[in-house]
Symmetry: C2
Subunit: 434 residues, 2 copies
């Protein structure tokens, strides 16, 4: 017997037929004697419909009223899931964000979870009632509905799991776990049984968006055991003690697991790719103190997130080329902003390239192994793939390459780090989030 929080996304909640499949998975967990709380998203497409209404009503919408409108999507699905569970003979009820309440703070439309008053919730779960909770919504200091920004339901689920001290928080998505890399690119990608919070954060930040980054941070901070698994694996539910998805655990727990299962940690856990960055080169920037600050301070003030930065050795004395990446969606704005400051910064010209991809290798094992980056550069060079920029963190090495070489690079690295599965190629189920 365990206390479990289950979370289902919009694709799983799209229509009463799919909600019935979700209810079957929930009922199976409850039937195994578990105490269950379920956090749900709005039906796929519903939040977009509501956001569009808000934009039509008022392009510069008041986020407090936006939250009133948009939170209704999860309100509907939580009521419907409670009804469906009742139709199956389960005790169930919905708990809206303002009812618990889920206190939130800071901005409307992008609120952060604060304290959750879970006493009544725990009591009801202990009494055998399944709790159904709309994700994404909470209550402000001013007693008004708040929402947590797109994808906020993952964060809600983790926060609820922490508040009720759940044994596990199961996030059901349209993929069935975290893979060593995108299975659409590498057929022999392996599903990871375990991954650490830190690795998951790095993988999420470079494009493997199985979970919302904020939810992973919160789970790490509150030490909530997270599991990613698919809601499209058939009508039956997994037995309570099998782990068909990927568990996201603390480093300490990972060490215990490795020891218990007598396994050695891989140096590299996964390969991620990200096509959402664009490269900017400023040529012949004066090589003097403060010159680089002239470039990046205005970008930061404009909210443009600069990722990789390289300062090439100057070809001419006293001058240098500066290369960096920004999100593709911000490229035009960044370019305009820099052109405006051309004289002040003193560069010669701007070269931009949106046809680039960032490839990252991630693994906790890097902390104790050397040569990870060297292997990466060699494997890519052997296949003639040119590296345009490099950035590293403690457990990640990222390189920027030509976008056309994305799939090739991922496959080359997946093999180079020994991640290819011996089993038959993975069959991709459902839609894998990019």
């Amino acid at each position: 017997m365990a206390r479990i929080v289950m979370k289902f996304g919009g694709t799983s909640m799209a229509g009463t037929e799919r909600i019935r499949r979700v209810a079957n998975l929930v009922r199976a967990q409850a039937a195994n004697g578990n105490e269950v709380a379920v956090v749900v998203s709005a039906m796929a497409g519903e939040t977009d419909r509501l956001v569009n209404f808000c934009r039509e009503a008022n392009p510069l919408y008041d986020p407090a009223e936006y939250d009133v409108v948009v939170s209704s999507g999860e309100q509907v699905t939580s009521g419907l899931l409670a009804l469906t569970l009742q139709a199956m003979g389960c005790k169930a009820r919905s708990w809206l964000g303002w009812q618990l309440p889920v206190k939130t703070f800071s901005a409307h439309a992008n609120a952060r979870v604060g304290e959750i008053y879970a006493e009544r919730l725990v009591e009801s779960m202990q009494g055998g009632e399944i709790a159904v909770i709309p994700g994404f919504q909470g209550l402000s200091e001013e007693d008004r509905i708040t929402t947590m920004g797109r994808g906020g339901s993952d964060t809600s689920a983790v926060a609820i799991a922490a508040a009720v001290e759940a044994d596990r928080c199961d996030i059901y998505t349209d993929v069935d776990g975290v893979y060593t890399t995108d299975p659409r690119i590498v057929a022999r990608a392996r599903k990871l049984k375990y991954v650490t919070f830190e690795e998951m954060l790095e993988l999420a930040s470079v494009g493997a968006k199985v979970l919302q980054t904020r939810s992973v941070s919160l789970a790490m901070k509150r030490n909530v055991r997270l599991q990613v698994l698919s809601s499209f694996v058939g009508e039956g539910a997994p037995a309570a003690d099998t782990l068909p998805g990927t568990m996201i655990v603390s480093e300490a727990e990972m060490d215990e697991i490795m020891e218990k299962e007598n396994m050695e940690r891989q140096t590299v856990t996964g390969i991620a790719h990200d096509k959402n960055e664009a490269r900017v080169v400023l040529t012949r920037v004066p090589d003097r103190p403060g010159a680089v600050a002239e470039i990046f301070t205005p970008l930061g003030e404009a909210g443009i997130n600069v990722d990789m930065i390289i300062q090439n050795v100057g070809r001419d004395k006293g001058e240098t080329d500066v290369t960096f990446t920004v999100p593709k969606a911000e490229l035009a704005r960044a370019q305009a902003l820099l052109e405006d400051r051309k004289d002040k910064i003193g560069f010669n010209r701007i070269i931009t390239d949106a046809k680039v991809a960032k490839i990252s290798v991630v693994g906790m094992g890097m902390k104790s192994h050397t040569g990870v980056a060297a292997l990466m550069f060699k494997a890519l060079a052997d296949r003639g793939i040119n590296v345009q920029a490099i950035s590293t963190s403690e457990i990640k090495v990222s390189v920027l390459i030509d976008e056309d070489e994305t799939e090739l690079a991922v496959r080359v690295l997946h093999t180079a780090y020994g991640l290819d599965s011996d089993d038959a190629p993975v069959e991709v189920q459902g839609e894998v989030k990019a």
Copy 2:
């Protein structure tokens, strides 16, 4: 300057373009220096969509969860109207049922309005903020969302008007007022400038469903001045002191108005028709004490509303025919129920007729005038219309006739009671509710 509650139905709120027209009407009232609260319904069709979801999820749905789902429709429109008003430069905010709160009691899905905590609402209105309130919803003793049954938004509006001590409660509908009769039948029907609560209740109960009956009762009880007017009369709003719709007032106020305007009260205010009744005749019922109770007690217990009852003089000694009406929708059930009790009641056979219509003449003036019923029978007889049953109240006479003669009867009576307008025939705008 006045304090006004405005209420808009689902047709007026159907989509952001229509909500903009509503916002224009609201803004005009506020611009005249009035304090304004607006009560809104869900977009037309939305409540049906949500109810269908509930039925699909659970045919025997839990009304508490039904309320969670269904109340979201008004939540969306109240947020959208607040946003639209803000886009026009007005101060506005939404107040959900649980936020005020609007306390309700008795059953979910058909709750009755209790106390409304309107302090913060009044403060906000006094501060020049337009309050937007979702109709139809409230909060139960158990801190859960309730709804008031279909058409409950009219009742919400009246309850809010009573709570904030509004000078007027304006109900915007798809008709522009209360007419002497259905203008689709009588082109020379006149719009009534004033009608009393009692008359409105009688008219509503016999088919002129401009307002929900419960809202009229509540307005009468709490002495809220109600006005019915159309939201489809163009972009501009009426000036604050003109009354383009119909005012529903107390009898005392009506007397004052009549005196002030030096008018005499008409004996008959309006003619209503209702095609939703069916006639049942039980032949040769034993003419003994308690026989009639054997018929009507089981119907009452089954929740079947019996309206007109006539006990004909027996043709044979010791026997009598009993005629009565039930709602058409209940006819089959009533018939089955009576057949089951045939021996116990002791009747000979059941004759049913669903092709009947009830025609009613209504007017406070009847209290002080005699001969109203006699004129009705004579006028109908002169045109060869046979009266199958009669029922009367203090301010109403109803007769049952052949359904095919409905329009003829209404026209004949409209003329007989001197209700025909001297002006050009009425042009019917929008859809008149049957």
